[in-house]
Amino acid sequence: MVDTRADHHRLLLEAIVQPTSLTGYDNRQWELLLRLARRARLSGYLAAKLEKDGLLDDIPMRAANLLRSSLIQARKQQQSVSWELNRVMWALGEHEIPVIVLKGMAYLLQDLPNAPGRMFADLDLLVPKEDLGQIESSLLKKGWRHHALTSYDEHYYREWSHEIPALVHPERNVEVDVHHTLSSPLGKLKINPLPFREAAVKVNDAGVYVLSPEDMVLHCAVNLFQNNELADDLRHLLDFHEMMLFFSSQQPFFQQKLIERANQLGLGNPLFYSLYFSRLLLRSAIPEDLEKQLDRQPGWFAQRVMHHCVPLALLPQHPDHPSRMAGYARVWLYWRSHWLRMPLYRLLPHLAYKFYLSVFPARAETSKQK
Protein backbone atom coordinates (compact mmCIF):
# COMPACT_ATOMS: atom_id res chain seq x y z
CA MET A 1 0.00 0.00 0.00
CA VAL A 2 1.74 3.13 -1.18
CA ASP A 3 1.26 6.04 1.16
CA THR A 4 0.91 9.12 -0.99
CA ARG A 5 -1.11 11.14 1.47
CA ALA A 6 -0.14 14.64 2.35
CA ASP A 7 1.92 15.31 5.47
CA HIS A 8 -0.90 16.93 7.34
CA HIS A 9 -3.14 13.94 6.68
CA ARG A 10 -0.49 11.64 8.10
CA LEU A 11 -0.14 13.90 11.13
CA LEU A 12 -3.83 13.62 11.93
CA LEU A 13 -4.21 9.93 11.13
CA GLU A 14 -1.19 9.01 13.23
CA ALA A 15 -2.67 10.93 16.15
CA ILE A 16 -6.00 9.16 15.82
CA VAL A 17 -4.67 5.68 15.33
CA GLN A 18 -2.01 6.00 18.02
CA PRO A 19 -2.84 8.77 20.49
CA THR A 20 0.04 7.82 22.79
CA SER A 21 2.42 9.04 20.10
CA LEU A 22 1.19 12.55 20.78
CA THR A 23 3.50 12.96 23.74
CA GLY A 24 6.33 13.03 21.23
CA TYR A 25 4.92 15.83 19.05
CA ASP A 26 6.74 19.17 19.02
CA ASN A 27 4.98 22.53 19.17
CA ARG A 28 4.85 23.01 15.41
CA GLN A 29 3.15 19.67 14.98
CA TRP A 30 0.77 20.41 17.81
CA GLU A 31 -0.18 23.76 16.32
CA LEU A 32 -1.18 22.16 13.02
CA LEU A 33 -2.76 19.10 14.62
CA LEU A 34 -5.02 21.20 16.83
CA ARG A 35 -6.34 23.04 13.78
CA LEU A 36 -6.90 19.83 11.82
CA ALA A 37 -8.55 18.06 14.72
CA ARG A 38 -10.89 20.98 15.19
CA ARG A 39 -11.81 20.98 11.50
CA ALA A 40 -12.44 17.24 11.65
CA ARG A 41 -14.40 17.63 14.90
CA LEU A 42 -12.09 15.16 16.59
CA SER A 43 -10.66 17.38 19.32
CA GLY A 44 -12.94 15.88 21.95
CA TYR A 45 -12.07 12.36 20.83
CA LEU A 46 -8.33 12.99 21.13
CA ALA A 47 -8.79 14.71 24.46
CA ALA A 48 -10.78 11.79 25.85
CA LYS A 49 -8.15 9.28 24.72
CA LEU A 50 -5.35 11.29 26.29
CA GLU A 51 -7.31 11.82 29.47
CA LYS A 52 -8.03 8.11 29.75
CA ASP A 53 -4.32 7.33 29.50
CA GLY A 54 -3.44 10.10 31.96
CA LEU A 55 -1.46 11.98 29.32
CA LEU A 56 -3.13 15.40 29.29
CA ASP A 57 -0.48 16.75 31.63
CA ASP A 58 2.33 15.41 29.44
CA ILE A 59 1.54 17.55 26.44
CA PRO A 60 2.13 21.30 26.00
CA MET A 61 -0.13 23.41 28.20
CA ARG A 62 -1.70 25.36 25.33
CA ALA A 63 -2.63 22.12 23.59
CA ALA A 64 -3.99 20.66 26.80
CA ASN A 65 -6.11 23.77 27.40
CA LEU A 66 -7.67 23.63 23.94
CA LEU A 67 -8.26 19.89 24.12
CA ARG A 68 -9.78 20.19 27.56
CA SER A 69 -12.02 22.96 26.26
CA SER A 70 -13.23 20.70 23.46
CA LEU A 71 -13.79 17.83 25.85
CA ILE A 72 -15.83 20.01 28.17
CA GLN A 73 -17.95 21.09 25.24
CA ALA A 74 -18.40 17.53 23.97
CA ARG A 75 -19.43 16.31 27.40
CA LYS A 76 -21.91 19.13 27.71
CA GLN A 77 -23.40 18.26 24.33
CA GLN A 78 -23.68 14.64 25.37
CA GLN A 79 -25.41 15.58 28.57
CA SER A 80 -27.82 17.86 26.70
CA VAL A 81 -28.79 15.15 24.24
CA SER A 82 -29.11 12.54 27.01
CA TRP A 83 -31.41 14.82 28.89
CA GLU A 84 -33.36 15.54 25.73
CA LEU A 85 -33.94 11.80 25.32
CA ASN A 86 -35.11 11.67 28.90
CA ARG A 87 -37.60 14.46 28.24
CA VAL A 88 -38.80 12.97 24.95
CA MET A 89 -39.52 9.64 26.64
CA TRP A 90 -41.36 11.47 29.39
CA ALA A 91 -43.45 13.34 26.82
CA LEU A 92 -44.28 10.12 24.96
CA GLY A 93 -44.80 8.26 28.22
CA GLU A 94 -48.33 6.97 28.08
CA HIS A 95 -48.22 5.96 24.41
CA GLU A 96 -45.59 3.23 24.87
CA ILE A 97 -44.13 3.71 21.41
CA PRO A 98 -40.82 1.91 21.01
CA VAL A 99 -38.19 4.39 20.06
CA ILE A 100 -34.88 3.44 18.50
CA VAL A 101 -32.04 5.84 19.20
CA LEU A 102 -29.55 6.31 16.37
CA LYS A 103 -26.02 7.59 15.85
CA GLY A 104 -24.10 9.44 18.54
CA MET A 105 -26.59 9.06 21.34
CA ALA A 106 -26.81 5.32 20.68
CA TYR A 107 -23.03 5.01 20.99
CA LEU A 108 -23.27 6.79 24.30
CA LEU A 109 -26.11 4.59 25.55
CA GLN A 110 -24.09 1.49 24.75
CA ASP A 111 -20.87 2.92 26.15
CA LEU A 112 -18.97 2.19 22.96
CA PRO A 113 -15.27 3.14 22.74
CA ASN A 114 -15.96 5.90 20.19
CA ALA A 115 -18.40 7.60 22.56
CA PRO A 116 -16.09 9.46 25.00
CA GLY A 117 -15.39 12.95 23.72
CA ARG A 118 -17.56 12.45 20.67
CA MET A 119 -19.31 15.58 19.54
CA PHE A 120 -22.94 15.32 18.64
CA ALA A 121 -25.65 17.89 19.06
CA ASP A 122 -28.79 16.24 17.74
CA LEU A 123 -31.04 13.46 18.95
CA ASP A 124 -31.83 11.06 16.09
CA LEU A 125 -34.70 8.65 16.56
CA LEU A 126 -36.19 5.90 14.40
CA VAL A 127 -39.87 5.16 14.87
CA PRO A 128 -42.60 3.33 12.95
CA LYS A 129 -44.05 5.45 10.18
CA GLU A 130 -47.57 4.99 11.48
CA ASP A 131 -46.59 6.51 14.83
CA LEU A 132 -45.03 9.66 13.38
CA GLY A 133 -48.19 11.72 13.68
CA GLN A 134 -48.81 10.72 17.28
CA ILE A 135 -45.22 11.44 18.26
CA GLU A 136 -45.19 14.79 16.54
CA SER A 137 -48.39 15.88 18.25
CA SER A 138 -47.31 14.61 21.70
CA LEU A 139 -44.09 16.54 21.51
CA LEU A 140 -45.78 19.68 20.22
CA LYS A 141 -48.26 19.44 23.07
CA LYS A 142 -45.50 19.24 25.67
CA GLY A 143 -43.66 22.33 24.44
CA TRP A 144 -41.52 21.33 21.46
CA ARG A 145 -41.67 23.51 18.36
CA HIS A 146 -40.71 22.96 14.75
CA HIS A 147 -37.42 24.41 13.60
CA ALA A 148 -38.19 27.59 11.65
CA LEU A 149 -38.33 26.55 8.03
CA THR A 150 -39.17 28.12 4.74
CA SER A 151 -42.15 26.56 3.04
CA TYR A 152 -39.71 25.13 0.47
CA ASP A 153 -37.61 23.40 3.08
CA GLU A 154 -40.67 22.07 4.85
CA HIS A 155 -41.97 20.61 1.59
CA TYR A 156 -38.52 19.10 0.93
CA TYR A 157 -38.47 17.50 4.34
CA ARG A 158 -41.93 16.07 4.43
CA GLU A 159 -42.20 14.78 0.93
CA TRP A 160 -38.73 14.15 -0.44
CA SER A 161 -36.52 13.46 2.49
CA HIS A 162 -37.21 10.99 5.24
CA GLU A 163 -37.84 13.19 8.20
CA ILE A 164 -40.49 15.40 9.66
CA PRO A 165 -39.00 18.84 10.25
CA ALA A 166 -36.81 18.83 13.31
CA LEU A 167 -38.39 19.54 16.66
CA VAL A 168 -36.77 21.76 19.25
CA HIS A 169 -37.80 22.66 22.78
CA PRO A 170 -37.15 26.40 23.21
CA GLU A 171 -35.74 26.00 26.72
CA ARG A 172 -33.13 23.48 25.66
CA ASN A 173 -32.46 24.04 21.96
CA VAL A 174 -31.53 20.46 21.16
CA GLU A 175 -32.63 19.33 17.70
CA VAL A 176 -34.77 16.18 17.74
CA ASP A 177 -34.87 14.42 14.36
CA VAL A 178 -37.57 11.79 14.13
CA HIS A 179 -36.99 9.39 11.23
CA HIS A 180 -39.10 6.58 9.88
CA THR A 181 -36.55 5.25 7.41
CA LEU A 182 -32.79 5.24 7.22
CA SER A 183 -32.43 6.64 3.74
CA SER A 184 -34.35 8.77 1.30
CA PRO A 185 -37.50 7.00 0.08
CA LEU A 186 -36.92 8.46 -3.38
CA GLY A 187 -33.28 7.53 -3.61
CA LYS A 188 -31.54 4.73 -5.44
CA LEU A 189 -31.01 2.55 -2.42
CA LYS A 190 -34.26 1.47 -0.89
CA ILE A 191 -33.86 0.63 2.77
CA ASN A 192 -36.76 -1.06 4.44
CA PRO A 193 -36.73 -0.02 8.09
CA LEU A 194 -38.66 -3.06 9.29
CA PRO A 195 -35.74 -5.51 9.61
CA PHE A 196 -33.84 -2.89 11.57
CA ARG A 197 -36.71 -2.38 13.95
CA GLU A 198 -37.22 -6.09 14.40
CA ALA A 199 -33.60 -6.68 15.35
CA ALA A 200 -33.40 -3.70 17.69
CA VAL A 201 -31.91 -4.19 21.13
CA LYS A 202 -33.64 -3.00 24.28
CA VAL A 203 -31.68 -0.54 26.40
CA ASN A 204 -33.97 0.05 29.33
CA ASP A 205 -37.56 -0.31 30.47
CA ALA A 206 -38.55 3.12 29.29
CA GLY A 207 -39.04 1.89 25.72
CA VAL A 208 -35.63 2.96 24.48
CA TYR A 209 -33.91 0.74 21.93
CA VAL A 210 -30.79 0.85 19.82
CA LEU A 211 -29.94 -0.98 16.62
CA SER A 212 -28.28 -4.37 16.86
CA PRO A 213 -24.47 -4.27 16.57
CA GLU A 214 -24.45 -5.34 12.91
CA ASP A 215 -27.18 -2.86 12.05
CA MET A 216 -25.45 -0.07 13.94
CA VAL A 217 -22.32 -0.66 11.90
CA LEU A 218 -24.33 -0.90 8.68
CA HIS A 219 -26.22 2.28 9.45
CA CYS A 220 -22.92 4.05 9.99
CA ALA A 221 -21.76 2.76 6.60
CA VAL A 222 -24.99 3.85 4.91
CA ASN A 223 -24.72 7.33 6.38
CA LEU A 224 -21.15 7.67 5.25
CA PHE A 225 -21.48 6.45 1.71
CA GLN A 226 -25.11 7.04 1.00
CA ASN A 227 -26.50 9.98 2.93
CA ASN A 228 -23.57 12.26 3.63
CA GLU A 229 -21.41 14.36 1.38
CA LEU A 230 -18.26 12.95 3.02
CA ALA A 231 -16.62 16.33 3.44
CA ASP A 232 -14.58 16.29 6.66
CA ASP A 233 -16.43 13.14 7.67
CA LEU A 234 -13.41 11.26 9.00
CA ARG A 235 -15.01 10.96 12.41
CA HIS A 236 -17.79 8.80 11.02
CA LEU A 237 -15.25 6.47 9.48
CA LEU A 238 -13.63 6.44 12.90
CA ASP A 239 -16.97 5.41 14.43
CA PHE A 240 -17.06 2.55 11.94
CA HIS A 241 -13.49 1.55 12.71
CA GLU A 242 -13.99 1.59 16.48
CA MET A 243 -17.23 -0.34 16.31
CA MET A 244 -15.72 -2.99 14.04
CA LEU A 245 -12.89 -3.45 16.53
CA PHE A 246 -15.17 -3.51 19.53
CA PHE A 247 -17.88 -5.81 18.25
CA SER A 248 -15.32 -8.17 16.69
CA SER A 249 -13.67 -8.53 20.07
CA GLN A 250 -16.99 -9.11 21.79
CA GLN A 251 -18.47 -11.64 19.39
CA PRO A 252 -16.36 -14.29 17.62
CA PHE A 253 -18.31 -14.32 14.34
CA PHE A 254 -19.32 -10.68 14.18
CA GLN A 255 -17.66 -9.94 10.84
CA GLN A 256 -19.34 -12.91 9.23
CA LYS A 257 -22.72 -11.86 10.59
CA LEU A 258 -22.11 -8.36 9.31
CA ILE A 259 -21.47 -9.57 5.78
CA GLU A 260 -24.54 -11.81 5.87
CA ARG A 261 -26.70 -9.00 7.15
CA ALA A 262 -25.44 -6.61 4.44
CA ASN A 263 -26.21 -9.22 1.80
CA GLN A 264 -29.62 -9.87 3.29
CA LEU A 265 -30.51 -6.18 3.23
CA GLY A 266 -28.83 -5.29 -0.06
CA LEU A 267 -26.38 -2.89 1.59
CA GLY A 268 -23.21 -4.27 0.07
CA ASN A 269 -22.06 -1.06 -1.61
CA PRO A 270 -21.79 1.23 1.40
CA LEU A 271 -20.31 -1.55 3.52
CA PHE A 272 -17.75 -2.31 0.83
CA TYR A 273 -16.48 1.25 0.84
CA SER A 274 -16.52 1.49 4.63
CA LEU A 275 -14.42 -1.64 5.06
CA TYR A 276 -12.07 -0.59 2.30
CA PHE A 277 -11.43 2.92 3.56
CA SER A 278 -11.34 1.95 7.20
CA ARG A 279 -8.51 -0.43 6.38
CA LEU A 280 -6.80 2.03 4.04
CA LEU A 281 -6.84 5.10 6.25
CA LEU A 282 -7.22 3.83 9.81
CA ARG A 283 -5.37 0.52 9.49
CA SER A 284 -8.39 -1.36 10.81
CA ALA A 285 -7.73 -4.98 11.65
CA ILE A 286 -10.07 -6.21 8.96
CA PRO A 287 -9.01 -9.22 6.88
CA GLU A 288 -7.99 -8.33 3.34
CA ASP A 289 -10.81 -9.01 0.93
CA LEU A 290 -13.48 -9.37 3.58
CA GLU A 291 -15.57 -7.07 1.43
CA LYS A 292 -15.20 -9.42 -1.54
CA GLN A 293 -17.76 -11.66 0.12
CA LEU A 294 -20.46 -9.09 -0.44
CA ASP A 295 -23.08 -9.87 -3.06
CA ARG A 296 -23.29 -6.25 -4.13
CA GLN A 297 -20.03 -4.47 -4.78
CA PRO A 298 -19.22 -1.30 -6.64
CA GLY A 299 -17.79 -1.72 -10.12
CA TRP A 300 -14.07 -1.55 -10.80
CA PHE A 301 -14.22 1.96 -12.25
CA ALA A 302 -16.31 3.33 -9.38
CA GLN A 303 -13.83 1.83 -6.92
CA ARG A 304 -10.87 3.54 -8.59
CA VAL A 305 -12.58 6.93 -8.63
CA MET A 306 -13.64 6.62 -5.01
CA HIS A 307 -10.15 5.46 -4.02
CA HIS A 308 -8.81 8.79 -5.21
CA CYS A 309 -11.64 11.08 -4.17
CA VAL A 310 -12.79 9.79 -0.81
CA PRO A 311 -9.62 10.38 1.23
CA LEU A 312 -9.41 13.92 -0.15
CA ALA A 313 -12.90 14.56 1.14
CA LEU A 314 -12.82 12.65 4.40
CA LEU A 315 -9.59 14.18 5.58
CA PRO A 316 -9.63 17.86 6.46
CA GLN A 317 -7.87 20.29 4.16
CA HIS A 318 -4.73 22.01 5.32
CA PRO A 319 -6.09 25.21 6.89
CA ASP A 320 -3.60 27.48 5.07
CA HIS A 321 -3.01 25.59 1.85
CA PRO A 322 -6.22 24.01 0.62
CA SER A 323 -5.69 21.70 -2.32
CA ARG A 324 -7.54 22.22 -5.56
CA MET A 325 -7.73 18.48 -6.14
CA ALA A 326 -9.43 18.07 -2.82
CA GLY A 327 -11.83 20.83 -3.81
CA TYR A 328 -12.81 19.00 -7.00
CA ALA A 329 -13.12 15.68 -5.20
CA ARG A 330 -15.48 17.24 -2.68
CA VAL A 331 -17.66 18.82 -5.35
CA TRP A 332 -17.88 15.51 -7.17
CA LEU A 333 -18.86 13.69 -3.98
CA TYR A 334 -21.41 16.37 -3.14
CA TRP A 335 -23.13 15.73 -6.45
CA ARG A 336 -22.87 11.99 -5.90
CA SER A 337 -24.55 12.15 -2.50
CA HIS A 338 -27.42 14.19 -3.85
CA TRP A 339 -27.75 11.96 -6.91
CA LEU A 340 -28.03 8.98 -4.62
CA ARG A 341 -30.65 10.66 -2.53
CA MET A 342 -32.84 12.31 -5.17
CA PRO A 343 -33.92 11.52 -8.73
CA LEU A 344 -32.47 13.93 -11.32
CA TYR A 345 -35.70 15.67 -12.13
CA ARG A 346 -35.91 16.82 -8.51
CA LEU A 347 -32.21 17.26 -7.94
CA LEU A 348 -31.49 19.94 -10.53
CA PRO A 349 -34.19 22.40 -9.47
CA HIS A 350 -33.26 21.76 -5.82
CA LEU A 351 -29.59 22.53 -6.35
CA ALA A 352 -30.40 25.54 -8.50
CA TYR A 353 -32.58 26.93 -5.75
CA LYS A 354 -29.90 26.35 -3.12
CA PHE A 355 -27.36 28.16 -5.32
CA TYR A 356 -29.76 31.06 -5.75
CA LEU A 357 -30.12 31.30 -1.98
CA SER A 358 -26.37 31.35 -1.52
CA VAL A 359 -26.20 34.45 -3.72
CA PHE A 360 -29.26 36.12 -2.25
CA PRO A 361 -29.42 35.01 1.38
CA ALA A 362 -31.95 37.69 2.22
CA ARG A 363 -34.57 35.82 0.18
CA ALA A 364 -34.28 32.86 2.53
CA GLU A 365 -35.02 35.14 5.47
CA THR A 366 -38.08 36.78 3.92
CA SER A 367 -39.59 33.49 2.83
CA LYS A 368 -39.12 32.17 6.38
CA GLN A 369 -41.10 35.05 7.73
CA LYS A 370 -44.03 34.44 5.38
Binding site: N86, K141, G143, E171
Partner: protein, 120 residues
Amino acid sequence: MGFCFRKEHLALFIFQVVSSDSADRMNTWCSFRFSSLRIENWDGEFTVFQPESGKTHFLNEMGLKILLILDQAPTSLEALCQELSEYFTLSPASAFSGQIAKTLLRYEALGLISRMKENA
Protein backbone atom coordinates in the same frame (compact mmCIF):
# COMPACT_ATOMS: atom_id res chain seq x y z
CA MET B 1 -24.98 31.96 26.25
CA GLY B 2 -25.98 32.00 29.92
CA PHE B 3 -28.86 29.84 31.04
CA CYS B 4 -32.59 29.98 30.51
CA PHE B 5 -33.96 31.62 33.59
CA ARG B 6 -37.01 33.72 34.19
CA LYS B 7 -37.13 36.61 36.61
CA GLU B 8 -40.64 35.53 37.60
CA HIS B 9 -39.01 32.79 39.64
CA LEU B 10 -38.17 35.46 42.17
CA ALA B 11 -41.88 35.95 42.80
CA LEU B 12 -43.76 33.78 45.24
CA PHE B 13 -45.24 31.27 42.80
CA ILE B 14 -44.20 29.75 39.52
CA PHE B 15 -47.02 30.18 37.09
CA GLN B 16 -45.89 28.75 33.77
CA VAL B 17 -48.26 26.13 32.46
CA VAL B 18 -46.64 23.63 30.18
CA SER B 19 -49.42 21.38 29.00
CA SER B 20 -53.13 21.15 29.09
CA ASP B 21 -53.06 18.14 31.42
CA SER B 22 -54.26 18.79 34.88
CA ALA B 23 -52.42 17.54 37.91
CA ASP B 24 -55.55 15.82 39.08
CA ARG B 25 -56.06 14.50 42.50
CA MET B 26 -55.49 10.88 41.50
CA ASN B 27 -51.73 11.54 41.17
CA THR B 28 -49.11 11.39 43.81
CA TRP B 29 -45.86 13.15 43.23
CA CYS B 30 -42.33 12.53 44.37
CA SER B 31 -39.04 14.28 43.88
CA PHE B 32 -36.66 12.83 41.33
CA ARG B 33 -33.01 12.45 42.38
CA PHE B 34 -33.36 15.15 45.00
CA SER B 35 -30.14 14.08 46.71
CA SER B 36 -28.17 14.83 43.54
CA LEU B 37 -29.20 18.50 43.54
CA ARG B 38 -26.69 21.11 44.60
CA ILE B 39 -28.44 23.75 46.63
CA GLU B 40 -27.06 27.09 47.78
CA ASN B 41 -28.90 29.34 50.21
CA TRP B 42 -28.85 33.08 49.58
CA ASP B 43 -30.76 34.53 52.54
CA GLY B 44 -33.86 32.48 51.90
CA GLU B 45 -33.56 32.31 48.12
CA PHE B 46 -32.03 29.25 46.61
CA THR B 47 -29.93 28.45 43.58
CA VAL B 48 -30.31 24.82 42.61
CA PHE B 49 -28.04 22.96 40.20
CA GLN B 50 -29.64 19.88 38.64
CA PRO B 51 -26.85 17.54 37.42
CA GLU B 52 -29.12 15.41 35.19
CA SER B 53 -30.15 18.32 33.01
CA GLY B 54 -27.20 20.62 33.70
CA LYS B 55 -29.67 23.39 34.40
CA THR B 56 -29.60 25.93 37.22
CA HIS B 57 -32.92 26.77 38.86
CA PHE B 58 -33.91 29.61 41.08
CA LEU B 59 -36.33 28.84 43.89
CA ASN B 60 -37.82 30.69 46.78
CA GLU B 61 -38.49 29.09 50.14
CA MET B 62 -41.83 27.62 49.21
CA GLY B 63 -40.48 26.29 45.93
CA LEU B 64 -37.74 24.42 47.74
CA LYS B 65 -40.08 23.23 50.48
CA ILE B 66 -42.21 21.53 47.85
CA LEU B 67 -39.23 19.51 46.67
CA LEU B 68 -38.30 18.63 50.24
CA ILE B 69 -41.79 17.42 51.08
CA LEU B 70 -41.96 15.38 47.89
CA ASP B 71 -38.59 13.86 48.64
CA GLN B 72 -39.73 12.52 51.98
CA ALA B 73 -42.68 10.57 50.64
CA PRO B 74 -44.98 10.45 47.60
CA THR B 75 -47.59 13.09 48.25
CA SER B 76 -50.84 14.08 46.61
CA LEU B 77 -51.63 17.66 45.61
CA GLU B 78 -54.13 17.96 48.41
CA ALA B 79 -51.76 16.74 51.11
CA LEU B 80 -49.00 18.96 49.75
CA CYS B 81 -51.16 22.08 49.94
CA GLN B 82 -52.15 21.13 53.46
CA GLU B 83 -48.56 20.74 54.58
CA LEU B 84 -47.45 23.97 52.92
CA SER B 85 -50.29 25.95 54.50
CA GLU B 86 -49.34 24.66 57.92
CA TYR B 87 -45.60 25.23 57.47
CA PHE B 88 -45.93 28.77 56.19
CA THR B 89 -48.97 29.53 58.37
CA LEU B 90 -51.10 30.62 55.47
CA SER B 91 -54.82 30.79 55.35
CA PRO B 92 -55.22 29.16 51.97
CA ALA B 93 -56.86 31.33 49.35
CA SER B 94 -59.05 29.47 46.92
CA ALA B 95 -56.45 29.90 44.18
CA PHE B 96 -53.65 28.34 46.24
CA SER B 97 -54.29 24.78 45.12
CA GLY B 98 -54.39 25.85 41.48
CA GLN B 99 -51.09 27.67 41.80
CA ILE B 100 -49.41 24.70 43.45
CA ALA B 101 -50.79 22.44 40.74
CA LYS B 102 -49.21 24.63 38.07
CA THR B 103 -45.92 24.55 39.95
CA LEU B 104 -46.02 20.77 40.02
CA LEU B 105 -46.55 20.61 36.27
CA ARG B 106 -43.65 22.97 35.75
CA TYR B 107 -41.42 20.89 38.02
CA GLU B 108 -42.46 17.76 36.16
CA ALA B 109 -41.51 19.30 32.81
CA LEU B 110 -38.14 20.24 34.30
CA GLY B 111 -37.61 16.69 35.53
CA LEU B 112 -37.42 17.71 39.18
CA ILE B 113 -40.38 15.57 40.17
CA SER B 114 -42.29 12.68 38.68
CA ARG B 115 -45.85 11.61 38.99
CA MET B 116 -46.91 8.24 40.20
CA LYS B 117 -50.41 7.38 39.07
CA GLU B 118 -52.53 5.64 41.64
CA ASN B 119 -54.29 2.56 40.35
CA ALA B 120 -58.01 2.94 40.89
